[in-house]
């Protein structure tokens, strides 16, 4: 295989693996903050037990996110050196801003979140939790901004540089804020962040529903569900709304991607329908086994059921993305989204009626929902990235001038051989498989162990307080006589 295919496989594999963790960190971060806020307001030890439990789960996940995230930053330089030289002026600043504004914030305050329970007061701890959540969200902001710029570049111009006698083009920033708020950043950012929040809410709801099924940790589980279920419903609905917004933008900025997502091969005068499912065949420009609702795509994209949507034939042949994969992943994402809205709706209704926990099938449905959310996040990512091909940076038109883009095939490192890439894929394949197994194993252990009961927690805190007293106080006896130590050891 050639370097391009291998490098793309490597990037896809490492980013999809990485992308298992940050959405969960962001989503869990919000749930954790809400739990702690509830504890801060009520001082109920059940909330504290919940927050301490989610912190432990969060920490395991966060470590994986950090460890796999550094790989992504390195890969731009190692495998995509030509791309890095072309876009460094633009793309690099977003990446550097992530490091300075987001990454330091989250990893710094993570220390207080995880290790600071008995070292700082509840107010400082709550603040640290918020900072970790905000930090992980800011991370998403800068990364999605950088990625959106590749999809819908803005605020740059092309400058030709003389490199040892050869003219080489480079994208340079002309307007920083136009670069940050390029036509797709806001839509894509809200959709991505909400996707993460959906995952976090369902993750908490899933674990707590599992406890109800097993009849364990009832007090803590019900409290967390009272936060997780409504947020899950709210965010799944918002995910639908923001997804719709993104699709409407797509017809203007990346019509090729939209056509691929819908396997819309031929433009016609007729309004365009929407496939519910099918098996696109790009070679014959057909969709096998397709079930289509007439006019729906026109309605969704233009809010007008009669206006035709441009198809793949409007795109020059050498600039068309693959169709099968974006079509399937897009439909998978939408399907999972619909499923999640239904399950969240039923669960919330059941919760509202006070009957949640009586119907085991509903509990099981909620238990499985994180998989649906994870699938939707991954599928959405594949749709966005494969639908962008063959461009790594889309060409754009600014002030009537067509700007240069960059094809994925032109972004590779020239000095890197297929063999090097293949060995790194094998190395990381092994490492990531092991990591995945260990992650599942440890996560399962944490969940099986569950939160401490509020009584255990109160008891632990009393003992901790005694242990951190100086020896003279501990052995000197209490005001009522007798030694604290004696009481403890019996």
């Amino acid at each position: 295989m050639d370097v391009e295919i291998l490098s793309r496989l490597q990037f896809a594999g490492t980013i999809m693996f990485h992308y298992l963790f940050p959405p969960l960190s962001i989503g869990l971060g919000l749930q954790l903050f809400l739990c702690e806020l509830a504890f801060y307001r009520t001082r109920n030890p059940a909330w504290e037990a919940a927050a301490r439990f989610w912190t432990r789960v969060f920490a395991v996940n966060f470590a994986m996110g950090v460890a796999t995230g550094i790989v992504m930053e390195f890969e731009f330089g190692t495998n995509w050196a030509a791309y890095s030289r072309f876009v460094g002026d633009v793309f690099g600043s977003a990446l550097a801003a992530e490091g300075i504004f987001a990454f330091f914030l989250e990893s710094g305050f993570l220390a207080v979140l995880v290790f600071g329970w008995d070292r700082v007061g509840p107010k400082m701890h709550l603040f640290s939790t918020l900072m970790v959540f905000l930090g992980s969200a800011f991370s998403a902001v800068w990364i999605v901004v950088a990625n959106s710029w590749q999809q819908t570049p803005a605020g740059y111009h092309i400058v030709w540089h003389d490199v040892q006698g050869e003219q080489v083009p480079r994208a340079e920033v002309t307007d920083f804020w136009a670069m940050v708020f390029n036509p797709s950043s806001v839509d894509r950012l809200t959709h991505t962040l909400i996707g993460a929040l959906v995952l976090g809410a369902f993750f908490v709801a899933s674990v707590c529903s599992f406890y109800l099924l097993r009849g364990r940790h009832d007090a803590v589980a019900r409290r967390c569900l009272s936060i997780a279920l409504p947020t899950a419903l709210l965010f799944t609905l918002l995910a639908g709304a923001t997804g719709h917004d993104s699709a409407q933008k797509l017809v203007e900025t990346q019509p090729a991607k939209l056509a691929a997502m819908e396997a819309h091969f031929e433009t016609s005068e007729e309004p365009t329908g929407l496939y519910l499912f099918g098996w696109p065949d790009a070679a014959n420009k057909k969709v096998h086994f397709g079930v289509q609702i007439p006019r729906l795509l026109s309605l969704m994209v233009y809010n007008d059921p009669s206006r035709p949507v441009p198809g793949m034939d409007q795109i020059p042949e050498d600039a068309r993305p693959p169709v099968w994969l974006p079509f399937q992943t897009f439909h998978l994402m939408v399907g999972m989204g619909t499923l999640m809205i239904m399950v969240a709706g039923m669960a919330c209704w059941s919760w509202y009626r006070g009957t949640y926990g009586e119907r085991r099938w509903l509990l099981w449905a909620v238990v499985l929902m994180p998989l649906a959310a994870m699938t939707a996040n991954q599928a959405g990512w594949i749709t966005a990235e494969v639908g962008r091909q063959p461009w790594v940076v889309y060409p754009s038109v600014q002030n009537g001038v067509e700007m240069m883009g960059m094809r994925t095939a032109d972004g590779l490192s020239e000095s890197v051989t297929a063999q090097q890439v293949l060995s790194s894929i094998i190395l990381f394949g092994i490492i990531y498989s092991l990591l995945f197994a260990v992650w599942i194993f440890v996560l399962n252990q944490k969940i099986q162990h569950g939160p401490d009961s509020p009584e255990e927690l109160t008891d632990y805190k009393r003992r901790h307080k005694e242990e951190s007293m100086s020896d003279s106080i501990r052995h000197g006896g209490t005001a009522y006589g007798g030694s604290l130590m004696d009481k403890e050891t019996g």
Partner: protein
């Protein structure tokens, strides 16, 4: 601000980020290298690991930010360095992942074999990461086989020869010593006594390699001394470096371990400064033809980007420093174990 001044400012800022990384992650890499030798039972191992528990993650962010800032400020250098060190950097990534998960997963299962495995993983990945950083530094210092259009023409094997290996060994010994002094500050009683016994041989090893590396650089990398020869005021850097090295045993002898830690941090700072002085104005020297070198001028971003980045840094760095101080302050004092520990 003029383009030239902006460029120079970013060269210095990158140096600061690299120093921040080397000083902070240096001690936790050192702790990782030392821990199988220093700690004799499970409780001591946990104490050693938890001495860096809340901090290693934030320390590593300095590397991530350095990478991002290099990408933004000198994209050509970023692309060239990272693609030239392809295999070495994938090994480095493996080590960084290995360290993170070894720490995180070690205490999650009550099994001696499980813990032994992660202990070994933690040691090996810390050692290899330190060595690889040094080897990469040695290669950049000596220059690499860059061809036309900054395309690297060497291979992993041409990066592994005596000089980078020597710098790799120097880095390992420096981080091990730095980590030992840090551990001395964070531990008590028997464990601290064991750490103390290790510091002296570690210092002698480091000092020996330091002398050898100094002469080796003089001999093997003639361009390294050009800037010092042209600007004699720069002699202050190697002199301060030597003084900081000598101050370490003095401070330990005076029983002022905090001062010794400060000195070893200054040694790292001086090394970074020496490195910067030696390579300036190149970022990566070509051994094929100096015209193929990656320099500050041909690697930099546009003036607008460097200016915007400077604003980002001016807002961001004070925030970073202030919460770094807060977090180090919250976790100051001797390390204790509690249920949140590793």
């Amino acid at each position: 601000m003029s383009y030239e001044l902006l460029t120079f400012t970013w060269f210095v800022l990158l140096g600061v980020l690299l120093c921040g990384y080397a000083i902070l992650d240096g001690f936790d890499l050192g702790v990782g290298i030392l821990h199988p030798f220093i700690a004799k039972d499970d409780r001591q191992r946990r104490l050693v690991m938890n001495s860096i528990g809340p901090l290693w993650d934030g320390n590593e962010v300095w590397l991530v930010t350095f990478g991002g800032a290099l990408f933004a400020a000198f994209p050509v250098a970023y692309a060239t360095v990272f693609s030239s060190f392809y295999t070495a950097f994938f090994l480095l990534l493996t080590c960084l992942i290995g360290r993170a998960v070894s720490l995180e997963f070690r205490s999650k299962v009550q099994s001696a074999a499980w813990r032994k495995t992660w202990d070994f993983g933690f040691f090996l990945s810390s050692l290899t990461a330190a060595a690889l950083l040094g080897v990469a530094g040695g290669n950049v210092m000596a220059g690499m086989e860059l061809g036309p259009r900054y395309v690297y023409q060497g291979s992993l094997l041409s990066q592994i020869y005596w000089y980078p290996l020597l710098i790799g060994a120097l880095t390992v010994s420096l981080f091990a010593m730095h980590g030992a002094i840090y551990l001395y500050l964070k531990t008590e009683d028997e464990l601290q006594a064991r750490v103390q016994r290790a510091i002296h041989p570690l210092f002698l090893t480091f000092a020996g390699l330091y002398v050898v590396a100094t002469f080796a650089t003089w001999w093997h990398v003639p361009h390294a001394t050009e800037n010092i020869a042209n600007f004699p005021v720069l002699w202050i850097v190697p002199i301060l470096n030597a003084l900081a090295v000598l101050n370490i045993p003095r401070a330990m002898h005076l029983n002022r371990p905090g001062y010794a830690f400060f000195s070893s941090a200054m040694v790292i700072l001086a090394f970074a400064a020496l490195f910067s002085v030696a390579i300036f104005p190149n970022l990566m020297l070509s051994t094929i033809d100096p015209a193929y070198s990656v320099t500050l001028d041909n690697a930099r971003s546009s003036q607008a980007t460097l200016g915007t980045m400077l604003i980002i840094a001016a807002i961001g760095i004070p925030c970073v420093l202030s919460y770094t101080v807060i977090i180090y302050w919250i976790f100051h004092g001797k390390v204790k174990l509690d249920p949140n520990s590793y």
